[in-house]
Symmetry: C2
Amino acid sequence: MTDDPKRRLFNTFATVAKALGNGHRLELLELLAQDERSVEALTRLSRLTFGNVSQHLQQLRRAGLVDARKDGKHVFYRLADDEVVKLIASLRRIAERNLAEVDRVVSGYFRERDSLEALSREELVARMQDGLVTILDVRPPEEFAAGHVPGALNITVKELGERLGDIPAGQEVIAYCRGPYCVLSFEAVALLRKRGFEARRLDDGYPEWKAAGLPVEAGPASD
Amino acid sequence: MTDDPKRRLFNTFATVAKALGNGHRLELLELLAQDERSVEALTRLSRLTFGNVSQHLQQLRRAGLVDARKDGKHVFYRLADDEVVKLIASLRRIAERNLAEVDRVVSGYFRERDSLEALSREELVARMQDGLVTILDVRPPEEFAAGHVPGALNITVKELGERLGDIPAGQEVIAYCRGPYCVLSFEAVALLRKRGFEARRLDDGYPEWKAAGLPVEAGPASD
DNA sequence: ACAACATTCTATTATTCAATAGAATAATAA
DNA sequence: TTATTATTCTATTGAATAATAGAATGTTGT
């Protein structure tokens, strides 16, 4: 099209941005930020048709945002790079700061956000060194097994009511899940507080933790 | 459209990405990363028509990426936030790592890149503390005046040949300009080396320096 | 008030994109 | 081999986007 190198670079960068410019694709990327998944699994987890998911994934692949691996009948997709999580986080930050729309949605549906006094990753790292916190991962066991914050306890929100006994008393609980807008940790903190625990949320989730290069642990649930 | 809050958020984030999904708009953002500019100035600097520039700017504004200020007959646009520079840098990093196209363009037109041994921001900060480097800003004086790395000398590539005497001998020169793909600093380093100076490039430019929160200085050229 | 200028708005057209359905591949199971 | 399942590819439709030209708005200078 053009042969001005600067322009060609801008156009190439634009193709990456274009791939991010669709809500469904961002949703797929969020799902992939948890763990690699097959097209079938992604179809189940999103509300799209099979063929449509496949096409979106291929756009993401052309843009270099995801990679694919074939295993038997299944094709497993995963993020090409942890930098993708950072890119999306950067997108989110700009949207949060500069678009009133985000405020309205967030304050409408995630109202307790501030009242639950979210903790930053840095603060959590500091607390972990002191060793006086219980870290609670409220995601499903499969996602936990694919990777989690070292030493975290895995109890889903559903089980939480019956497993309060597994949580060490007397020290603060920090709950996290899939990301900044994942409601699971909000619910967990609300429940824990009602039952007398001192509990707070991590202000984002596992993918951001991993992308930041902080240590992770993998394997089956630790209980 | 939908009232699933998660989906509404993704759609909102997607509108920001969509605004970035066009080479011309990325070019406008790069120009704005230097300094605020009027629609007229941007029309001159890009190869777009006046009306088209205006429309692109309005898309950028709707996406919360730029702000506008009216002064007399002119409307001046500027980046809404330094985070925008970081977002674009993140986009660039992913494109560089994962798309062969970028490699081809970069190695075709910016071949000397590696041979000129670019220096990172962090390394430059360390060198500045030792005080044994000359920092050379090769951008036009207007851009220099709008903000530059503290202590930098402003000499454009055009003047450089006749003003070598202004450069302290015996210490390394670090040149920078508008960003990682700005050719000015490549040319400056090539010229300086030919004339016997020890010279290297900063691996990105002023906008990235500023966005990283490093100290900046403003005002007329320091010579 | 009028003319000149910078900018935005509107309408039009060509291009690109999203979603759907159905055909084509490719791997496994019977 | 045939059937089954997971996935990709192709074609089609309707929707969104980009570029252009020209009208409308608003500000400054006379």
